[in-house]
């Protein structure tokens, strides 16, 4: 049997999106066309925010949130070191310095460590809802709020995730989402969304994404070119139609893995689950003993797995100048040697999932 990590073509096989893209070529409203506005208002409704702005990428959503909040040179922004590199890259783009803090057993920013990382230069905190699991926003806000720090959610992997029924993207001053093709709501190229209920912030991001132009002729500030493509908005809008079903399926798959793998501890460690949190499982990440051999074992039996991510950001070559050393974040570093992402996409069949579980069990139990 072959179990692919993702099966992207399946999302488009009914041809409905292609027809809608073809339609757009009759109108050619390629830049900020009506479909962008439509997708934005649906996305805002999903997150329960007053505004959602379509941008070029999730990276730019973080970057423009920082720029719009005037976080830049001389400022520090605290984030997690186990994310995709763009979480820190956006901070560097804004001219600020990324400061990392260690993570907990759920791969999420450790709020206790956050407190120790704050300096007089700290202006913002970017918790990452890694794997689609919301960071402990209440504890983070308890540290950030009294110090007047902005909390920007990196919700790139977490569309639709909730804490006590509150949806991510509405839990900080701004939420940054990615529409990268593999995401739970994906485009057919790059795309991103910024959510906020702060009118002034939304207005500034709307200016900055479109060259700072207030109208066709008046340039209020020098800005950027970071607009969600109309064609990509059409694709993402169709993906939004499927989101509820996609999320339910992923949660069901995760529950199946959780139950089927839990007795393999300590060879396989499944992170703890919080009952009041709804994870959306963009990735399903276990910690595995003898990971390289497990990967080879699975690969030889047709099961595709991935590592998100093998090198913590603070140990990347790009981060050398920030001065971190191996050992700076022991939890994150230990996890990076053991984490493994199993296929969890919505097209996975129960046979395929059972097959994955069996191959893992035979590896450890013979």
């Amino acid at each position: 049997m072959r179990v692919r990590y993702v099966d992207l073509p399946r999302q488009f096989e009914d041809g409905a999106v292609l027809a809608r893209i073809a339609d757009e070529f009759q109108r050619c409203q390629f830049i900020l066309g009506p479909q962008v506005a439509q997708f934005e208002s649906r996305f805002a409704a999903l997150c329960g925010t007053s505004f959602a702005l379509g941008l070029n990428s999730g990276t730019d959503a973080l970057f423009l949130a920082l720029r719009a909040l005037d976080v830049g040179p001389g400022d520090e922004v605290v984030t997690a070191p186990n994310s995709f590199v763009a979480s820190a890259g956006a901070i560097v783009m804004a001219g600020a310095v990324p400061v990392f803090v260690d993570v907990n057993a759920e791969y999420l920013m450790d709020p206790a460590a956050l407190e120790d990382a704050i300096t007089p230069r700290t202006r913002a905190v970017i918790p990452v809802h890694l794997t689609g699991n919301p960071a402990d926003m209440d504890a983070i806000a308890a540290v950030a709020r009294p110090r007047g720090l902005h909390v920007i959610e990196d919700a790139a992997q977490a569309v639709g995730a909730t804490v006590d029924g509150r949806v991510v993207g509405a839990l900080g001053i701004a939420g940054a989402f990615s529409l990268y093709p593999l995401k739970n709501v994906g485009a057919a190229g790059d795309g991103g969304m910024l959510t906020t209920s702060a009118r002034e912030l939304a207005d500034r991001v709307a200016l900055l994404r479109h060259h700072g132009l207030r109208d066709r002729d008046a340039c209020e500030v020098f800005g950027y070119n970071s607009r969600l493509d109309t064609l990509q908005a059409i694709v993402a809008d169709a993906a939004l139609d499927r989101l509820a079903a996609v999320t339910e399926t992923r949660i069901r798959h995760a529950a199946f893995y959780d139950a089927a793998l839990c007795d393999l501890a300590p060879d396989v460690v499944v992170p703890p689950r919080r009952p009041h949190v709804r994870q959306v499982f963009h990735t399903y990440v276990i910690q595995a003993e003898a990971r390289p051999r497990l990967i080879a074992h699975l690969d030889a039996r047709g099961v595709e797995t991935k590592i998100h991510y093998p090198i913590p950001i603070h140990l990347q070559k790009a981060a050398e100048h920030l001065g971190y050393k191996r050992g700076a974040f022991p939890v994150c570093e230990a996890q990076s040697e053991r984490i493994l992402s199993l296929p969890i996409h919505e097209h996975l069949s129960s046979d395929e999932q059972a097959y994955v579980v069996e191959r893992i069990r035979e590896f450890y139990r013979g």
């Binding site: 990276t59 590199v85 057919a188 190229g189 002729d217 340039c219 209020e220 020098f222 493509d229 950001i313």
Partner: protein, 148 residues
């Protein structure tokens, strides 16, 4: 990750469109040059009211825009628009006079040529799908504005 970078990639779907169009670039350019030449000729004897930029025979201008300077520009623009011609201005406010530039310290009068042109420039359609009739109609419409 060698250096902290950006997210700035040409979209694959957009590359498909680009690959499709690049095959036609020569035909597109030729058509635009032909349209521009017809406009140049049609407007030439309005000199005095209309100023067409000098054309250097060594340069191949690809006419993304067909721009000229016009007396009484704003009324000409309204006249053309009322006759169904989508004329535009590229661009009415010079960069140094934009609100965004205030902190750079420029003021009105710093660039007299650019500023003078900004009040006089107008852009006519020059795209590759224009018919000869449409080009003649534009010429006729500009001529009628000045000649009554």
């Amino acid at each position: 990750m060698e250096i902290f970078g950006y997210n700035s990639r040409l979209d694959t779907l957009q590359a498909i469109v680009g690959n499709h169009l690049i095959k036609d670039v020569e035909a597109i350019t030729t058509a635009r040059i032909r349209n521009a030449r017809a406009l140049d000729v049609g407007l030439a004897d309005l000199a005095g009211r209309v100023r067409i930029p000098p054309r250097d025979p060594r340069e191949r201008h690809v006419f993304h825009l067909y721009m000229f300077e016009a007396d009484d520009r704003d009324r000409l623009l309204a006249h053309l628009v009322s006759r169904g011609i989508e004329a535009k201005i590229h661009y009415p406010v010079p960069l140094h006079l934009q609100p965004a530039s205030r902190r750079l310290g420029y003021k009105d009068g710093d660039f007299p040529v650019a500023e003078g042109q900004a009040t006089r420039i107008i852009t006519l359609p020059v795209h590759q799908h224009l018919t000869d009739d449409q080009v003649s109609y534009m010429v006729e419409s500009v001529r009628r504005f000045y000649r009554g």
